[in-house]
Amino acid sequence: MKPITRRLAVVACAALLTACASGPKHAEVQASIPALKATEGRLYIYRSSSMLGAAIQPNVVVNGKVAGESKPGGFFFVDLAPGTVEVSTSTEVEKKLTLTLEAGQTRYVRTTVGFGLMVGRVYPELVDSAVGAKEIAETSYIGKPLAKP
């Protein structure tokens, strides 16, 4: 490999690696995640650690407020009053998900990269709790700092 090609490959690898979530693994923070209040519901928002569109990391907006970022291999959670919820991400277009949330309920929203016209698009999708719980175990925590247990 020519030196210039090697350098480009190193830069590309570095860019890909820094694009991934770098927080503690789910298993490491699980005990620090506070118990859900009986009057609220919990939304886990995550993205699998695929390299496809890794550099596209839009904000995730929940009910009009930025709640976190969609990063490959990352997850965070939001506790909300029961009712209707809108989760949205914006790249070249805005993609929305609407769902209901009950008190005491935990739901999972996966963000996925799809192809767009100019750049990739990030879609929020509601997934089965069994699937979400399994997939989130492979991700790292990228939310607000948690108190130690």
């Binding site: 993609k95 998900l97 879609y123 999708e125 509601l126």
Partner: protein, 133 residues
């Protein structure tokens, strides 16, 4: 057609496809009423159901999926899945409940939008009773 024009037309077609492939899910506002004598009843579909909403993103409901009756709208009985999630997708994605009438899935109820979205064609959906916990 010159080569340049051919390329331009091709690019425009590709751009149109990518930019506008998903349209909004068509919604009819509806009123969810209590399903007298059936509220809370648990049922499961007997056989897989292939549903094609008007937005064309097909949905498959696996055999044995359990639902609870959460009400009735003009188009049929509204069944909320108990262990899984249903969504309808167009330009955006919406949580959805099944709407059942005369042994068929006729569309979806969108609980956030309080609206009904029909299937292109009703799909057979025989139901079996489940024990209420």
């Amino acid at each position: 057609m010159t080569r340049a024009r051919f390329v331009a037309v091709g690019l425009c077609a590709a751009a149109s496809l990518l930019a506008g492939c998903a349209s909004e899910v068509r919604r009819e506002p509806v009123e969810l009423a209590v399903a007298a004598g059936e509220q809370g009843r648990r049922v499961a579909n007997d056989g897989d159901v292939e549903a094609i909403p008007e937005s064309r993103y097909a949905r498959r409901i696996a055999s044995g999926t359990e639902f609870v009756v959460v009400g009735r709208i003009a188009q049929g009985l509204v069944l909320k899945p108990t262990q899984t999630v249903l969504t309808v997708e167009g330009a955006h994605m919406h949580e959805a409940y099944a709407v059942h009438r005369d042994g068929q899935l006729v569309g979806f109820y969108l609980p956030v939008e309080r609206a009904f979205t029909p299937l292109v064609k009703p799909a057979p959906m025989p139901l079996q009773e489940r024990k209420t916990p």
